[in-house]
Symmetry: C2
Subunit: 338 residues, 2 copies
């Protein structure tokens, strides 16, 4: 059993508990800190979108289509489906002469309730562009178009089916995961992600290593090192695109800029790079709770960066309010790091 990382208080009593594991690793693979089982494979889900976006830069697609910071940031995003996100993803596809029909992520209403209500009030309906992964998928389609051009084939036809593990685009994405984590993802346990691409189960230790490498460039090919740096800078320059209004990832990167790249994944996963410290972080909440993943990472970041930044404390010790706005409880870390 992994240790309890986050407790949920109601009044003075602990109401719920979230166990999990976390790894902090440097770019040479040295384990700086580990709690719980960091060698058991876990599905990293959307927490590795930075790694999955490396081919977008390394393939030359970023230069070929003159992708902006906002476009590169949304390629690493699990966004809230706000109008700016939808417009940015649509703009990427327009550069390719394509539209939402090219996306294979499925249709999802915006995750942010006020955005969803505003859409409904305008009589709009959700499209694949509103899917939280639409930017990542637009990036995949960009890679497909560059590959098609190099192969002299029709871009839209080449792109079709890009979510399949055997498609050339997805093989590049999987190769980027293998190169950064040091583990052959093709041989790892495989599942299908929420957006229909494969997700590979990898140990937290290897995921943390991948992010340490992406933060420092150490242990990566020149192409991947440059791509990681370009993507991190883009997200730091356009942090709204990676999440959205009141989203943890966005707020943290607005506050810390290039000091910190961080990304949540479904089912309680969190990955981050801290380039100045040369460290990568990966954690998984056993039960899959996002509130605990954010709180646990906020506590880790407070400790590593030796900061009292309010945005981190807002999440590590999140205040819980009821429907009348009355304070009814709080989250608190149940682990200490030293």
């Amino acid at each position: 059993m992994n240790p309890v990382l986050i407790e949920v208080l109601r009044g003075a009593a602990v109401e719920s508990r979230h166990a999990g594991a976390l790894a902090i690793v440097d770019a040479s693979g040295h384990v700086h800190t580990a709690l719980g089982d960091v060698d058991r494979p876990i599905f990293p889900r959307s927490a590795v979108k930075l790694l999955q976006a490396l081919p977008l830069v390394a393939s030359g697609a970023t230069d070929a289509f003159q992708l902006t910071d906002a476009e590169l940031s949304i390629a690493c995003a699990s966004h809230s489906g706000e109008p700016e996100h939808v417009a940015t993803a649509a703009g990427m596809l327009a550069k390719l002469g394509l539209d939402a029909d090219a996306l294979e992520c499925g249709t999802q209403w915006p995750g942010r309730e006020p955005v969803l209500r505003a859409m409904a009030a305008r009589g709009e309906v959700a499209t694949p562009l509103h899917n939280n992964c639409s930017g990542k998928h637009s990036g995949f389609v960009c890679v497909a178009c560059v590959m098609a051009r190099n192969a002299g084939t029709h871009p839209a036809e080449f792109a079709r089916g890009y979510v399949a593990a055997a498609h050339p685009v997805m093989r590049e994405v999987t190769a980027a995961l293998s190169a950064t984590t040091g583990i052959d993802a093709e041989r790892a346990p495989r599942g299908i992600d929420g957006c229909s691409i494969p997700t590979f189960a990898l140990p937290l230790r290897a995921l943390a290593l991948a992010f340490a490498r992406c933060g420092t460039g150490q242990g990566l090919s020149d192409a991947n090192a440059r791509a990681a740096r370009r993507l991190r800078r883009a997200v730091a320059a356009a942090p709204f695109m990676v999440g959205g209004t009141d989203r943890f990832d966005t707020r943290v990167m607005e506050a810390f800029g290039e000091q910190l790249f961080c990304k949540i994944g479904a089912e309680g996963v969190y990955c981050a790079a801290l380039p100045e410290l040369g460290l990568g972080v990966a954690l998984k909440i056993d039960d899959g709770a996002a509130r605990a993943a954010e709180a646990a990472f906020a506590a880790v970041a407070q400790w590593l960066l030796k900061t009292e930044a309010p945005v981190l404390r807002d999440y590590s010790h999140a205040v819980l309010r009821n429907w009348r706005g009355t304070e009814v409880g709080a989250l608190r870390p149940a682990f200490t790091l030293s």
Copy 2:
């Protein structure tokens, strides 16, 4: 640590795990089955709405205001804020000459997304009537009005502040909890619930006992035994009111009628009465996950009722699909009962 009750699979691999505890107890207090720590107090939240509604019948309010099955059912509900729910709660208040201003549960948009979108599309905004607890609170206001009449005071003035622990209405509600669980709730750890009333931490063993008593009438005063029977029958006759479209509680009670009363509570709590078996069930998922509470209770009900009913299997082995509708995983019970 409590045992893992529910596993979440992605492909063939376990992605997430939910630990918890459960108690099955008969009306004499004999523990039929226990897994995990059933003596640690837990906040039962909305899982005890049946117990909290006992004074609505026992006070005479049900007769005084000629409350219907639908109205009694919604008094035990965590409903999805659908138009029928809103109209039913509003109708209860109208019988008192009151409206939504009398409710102190706070404003909540409907929990069911299509309902929320339809409201927004009609240009409507949420009110306290849409709060999942609006029926329970309308019931509290009914009790207040009967008390006011008996005391010869103004009903709306008497009702004001009914959510406070010291208010005469809430003292009756707390007394019903104490009488059914056999534990003095006034001395139990106290928190504030999502709808602003107090919630008292009580052991699963005592909560299961309370539901065994409510299913059989054994160990209760005549007034509470009659009230429990009246409420169970009302919910069985109007199960839509206790939840709503595609809600587990509603679907189960549609299928099983008076064989089974069951109710979810926030933070992974589930309570149920099985009158024909003379048993009560109470369970809590440590991390607070509703998906696991429903799955675990579905597995318990399958075992106790020796049934293959599809509605239970739909939840105990729920299939998980992604945004394109592709099957990506499933829940499964990780415990066996014997």
